[in-house]
Subunit: 177 residues, 3 copies
């Protein structure tokens, strides 16, 4: 039996987790990944408030228990007092991937000068990649379009499942070796 | 009574603080901010040598006692032995803002390849934003021109005063929400 | 007697250090630096496996005992489990130089979208500069071409030897002061 590829989607939002509004950002990530990936996968979805311990536990659970090779977060990356997703991400990662945040901010800067306010980062926990995305659905797609071409090869290098993309939508880049 | 907006300007320089030369960098920051801002504000100026504890205490004082919503430093960001402003900044901040340093270096790289030697960063202490600028007046203006459009919205997000800019000089960007 | 400028080259590779293949990356760095530098210098070469303590000890030795003003590493900067060169570098540095990694990734992104997977950094130990480069010879040259123009001035600022470059190959930039 082949294990199906699992991808964690973690929405971090006080208001969405309190039921004040619907989580459209988490849904935007699932829709975008469905659009990108031609190989089989299933989402593992979590929604937590902007609380360090809850974010950390959700990330640990998605990686260690749910066996997600990739976890994508949305929300909590700005300068507001409750925005602590990058710190929680760093707390559970062994090694950081600074290139993701750099490229996502550079990409978002093409649209808004306030892109520098996003503190989003990415890192590795064991053999899983965790990527922070911003909270706004439009910015989510812009950021994923920029970094996702490198994601399948990253997961290859960590010994994870072989992700295949729909080339009409996005090109997974694997260098000839 | 409305509280007036206070902005800290911290010059870090062994020689200027010893009176060997005048601090033209701190003055360049005050002039630039006066040029940018159309809403009322007042500068709170400090000058310290390149000593970790003195830089940290000045930053803490400007934020915690002087109630500055924004503190801008100049000097001490290079690779010389005494350059420790970024480390002192990180020591007093709760959360870092990597996008500021990235954009200021990318901007300075348009002028000089040695822009990568600047270790300048930015971060948040409580609800205040601290930004390191380089020491040279011309580089100060280039860096502020690049990042300042995002500063008023950053301060909004932290619950600080509403900064207004002179649109003939610089555009404060606030996304439609 | 003038001290000759010494530059450390540290190859980090399990397989090269086990003799499974030849270290062509370390050689590529020596060739590139020979191409760049017109002033006298000598390489101090080390080869270690991807083991944190061995990388750290090699870096400490090259800086503290061998008196290298510059140490360039190759290998171990990716997301694979054994890739820990950036962490070992940070462990032995007093202060970090984020601009190097940012520019090298931005430069490599012109060629491959997987450039964001490189976690390479740079930092200062005492008055020496340590720069991580990727493992592939072609990427080594691309990265060095991007950052090396700033290296001689960086070493000047730290009180090190005066490096001169062959202007037909690369331009060392020193700002008029």
């Amino acid at each position: 039996m082949t294990k199906v590829t699992r991808i964690g989607i973690l929405t971090v939002s006080d208001r969405a987790s309190a039921g004040v509004y619907q989580d459209i950002s988490g849904k935007a990530i699932i829709d975008t990944l469905s659009d990108y990936l031609s190989s089989a996968w299933e989402p593992v979805y979590r929604l937590v408030p902007d609380e360090a311990r809850q974010i950390e536990q959700a990330l640990e659970h998605l990686v260690d228990e749910e066996d997600c090779c990739l976890v994508v977060t949305t929300g909590g990356t700005g300068p507001a007092e409750r925005d602590i997703t990058p710190e929680a991400t760093e707390a559970v990662c062994d090694r950081m991937m600074p290139g993701f945040g750099e490229l996502m901010r550079a990409e978002s800067l093409k649209y808004v000068p306030t892109a520098i306010l996003s503190r989003q980062t990415a890192g590795l926990r064991g053999s899983s990649l965790i990527i922070n995305l911003p909270g706004k659905p439009r910015a989510i797609r812009q950021c994923l379009d920029a970094v996702f071409p490198a994601v399948p090869y990253c997961i290859d290098l960590m010994g994870g499942p072989y992700l295949e993309c729909n080339p009409a939508v996005i090109e997974a880049f694997r260098p000839a070796s």
